[in-house]
Amino acid sequence: MLRIRNLDAGYGALTVLQGVSLHVDAGEIVAIIGANGAGKSTLLRAISGLVRPQCGRVEFAGRPLCGMAAERIAGLGCLHVPEGRQVFAPMTVRENLLVGGYARPAPRAELDERMDRVFSFFPRLKERRRQTAGTLSGGEQQMLAIGRALMACPSMLMMDEPSMGLAPIAAKSIFEIVARLRSGGLTVLLIEQNARAALRLADRGYVLETGRILLEGAAGDLMANHDVQRAYLGKDYSRIDE
């Protein structure tokens, strides 16, 4: 579904990503793990068109994305749930969702249908649909950010640190949501600092370090990898809480 070859991207003269290649097949959950500043967010931003790639190829569903405007990429069904949720705080939950539908314009009746689908997925959002997004809890805001992306009928969701800043229980429910999304047929590219949770959920994973892919493999293999354990899973403690 998504194919990236030799991608370089960054900001101005600064190149953050160097020669990144990866792929995501339809129906997969792929996790990208890495430390702060490894370039995880930049990678997603380069795919979704928020950052212009410096060189390399990005293909989504067989179409080249490089140089395409972000709103058109979203229209193709490749949706980015940005870091820190970035809900539109002064707008109501309903309005937030409506803006989510802009990537794929549709008549009102169909938008209402999409919204009903989002609400059936997130009953909490339905309860709070008239509330402004700024008054939601962090977990609810993350639901809203995901729901907003779902309004564009995506075939792939790219989630940037969905558990960031959430209480452990809210983070857990977000990971459950990701699993449910996949069983509903979505492909997910997941970025997480919580490497353990991400790899448990994912089919495959990539380890990104200082802008390069260091390791890749099945999620289980990565979890078993000693370097990964030492660097991202806190090796000595990992067995205790199993």
């Binding site: 709103e71 940005p82 809900v87 539109f88 409506l98 539908g101």
Partner: protein, 366 residues
């Protein structure tokens, strides 16, 4: 928000504006109508800026520049004498279609041919759209204080051009701008006997403008604008064409300013370079900030009231200082808008408190 709930405040505005002249004449102060009319035109320009600043979150420190472009285009075209070009083939065609009209020049005897006010108005709007597109495309890539500086630069350029060009009257400005017949029997002009009809025309223009903005804000485009203000990046990632919406809003706010500038020039019978001054732009920004940023009604009333007081000379020579102080205060106490007064919600809350009724929905912002 339902169409009914949306039209109520507009009707309320129409009622307030409609009653104001009656109150003024009851108080034996009909002369106040002049400043009331002028402040309405300034308010028309300010609510346009409110859309850009409050809703789309893009600052413009050059709003007076657009007002001046509107006012000066109308003034120049309706006062320039084209009689020397009477031999040109297109001349009689333009005259027959009403684009040109015959009049007498300033000396009161020699014949003159000028552009009709409606055609000049049209030209002003078209020129404004062209300039706003030209300026907006590069400038709206900037954010925050870079955008403020760039738009301020534009405002300064307009101001210097207005002062510098002979055709634009240099420091004297342009006078002798004729009446602008907008409806049968009603023209925008400074004739004393037409003071009431002029006030009502201005009020009608403002109500129409606010009605338009009110609908826009609650439309698909308005949601996109508020999303851009909420988080430009998330809006983009959600499929909002942020560049296009920002540019569209910039142009629309410029058109509001230009229309107001043009009407005001006809009402005053002229225009001077002070209309293009940087402080006029700062004043508009201050009024939007005082009104609560994304608050059309707050901006509207703060603009009506403060411009009226300013035009009445209440602030004396501290005029600019007052608006500067307002801007500072608004930035310090409510940098993101949300000043509690003037909002329809605050009124609704006060009403509920008075009547002891509990409303449903609480503080949903309109």
């Amino acid at each position: 928000m339902s169409a009914f709930k949306r039209i109520m405040p507009v009707l309320g505005l129409a009622l307030i504006l409609g009653l104001a002249p009656a109150m003024a004449s009851l108080a034996g102060a009909r002369y106040l109508l002049t400043q009331m009319t002028m402040s309405i035109y300034y308010a028309l320009a300010t609510v346009g800026l409110c859309l850009l600043m409050g809703y789309a979150g893009q600052i413009s420190m050059g709003h007076a520049g657009f007002m001046a472009i509107g006012g000066y285009t109308s003034s120049v075209l309706t006062t320039c004498n084209l009689i020397g070009h009477a031999q040109m083939p297109a001349f009689s065609l333009l005259e027959r279609s009403g684009v040109l009209f015959r009049t007498v020049s300033a000396d009161g005897v020699s014949p003159a041919v000028c552009v009709a006010p409606w055609a000049a108005f049209l030209a002003a709007i078209i020129l404004t759209i062209a300039i706003a597109l030209l300026i907006g495309m590069p400038v709206l890539r900037l954010k925050g204080h870079y955008l403020a500086m760039a738009t301020m630069g534009f405002g300064i350029i307009v101001h210097r051009m207005v002062i510098g060009f002979r055709a634009l009257g240099e420091a004297d400005g342009i006078s002798g701008v004729p009446a602008f017949p907008v409806l049968p029997g009603a023209a925008i002009s400074g004739v004393i006997s037409d003071r009431l009809s002029n006030y009502l025309l201005a009020a009608a223009a403002l109500v129409a403008g606010v009605w338009l903005l009110q609908n826009l804000v609650h439309s698909r485009a308005g949601r996109a604008l508020r999303a851009i203000r909420g988080s430009e990046e998330a809006a983009e990632a959600s499929g909002v064409d942020t560049d296009r919406y920002k540019l569209m809003t910039f142009v629309l706010s410029a058109v509001f300013a230009a229309a107001a500038g043009s009407f005001l020039a006809h009402y005053n019978g002229g225009i001077g370079p002070s209309e293009a001054g940087v402080m006029k732009s700062v004043r508009a920004v201050a009024l939007v900030a005082l009104g609560g940023m994304a608050n059309l009604w707050g901006t509207l009333f703060s603009s009506l009231i403060l411009n009226f007081l300013s035009l009445r000379g209440v602030f004396q020579s501290y005029d600019d200082a007052v608006f500067g102080a307002i801007l500072i205060a608004a930035m310090v106490f409510a940098p993101h808008g949300r000043i509690p007064f003037f909002t329809a919600n605050a009124a609704a809350r006060a009403w509920r408190r008075l009547t002891g009724r509990r409303g449903r929905g609480g503080d949903a912002r309109d």
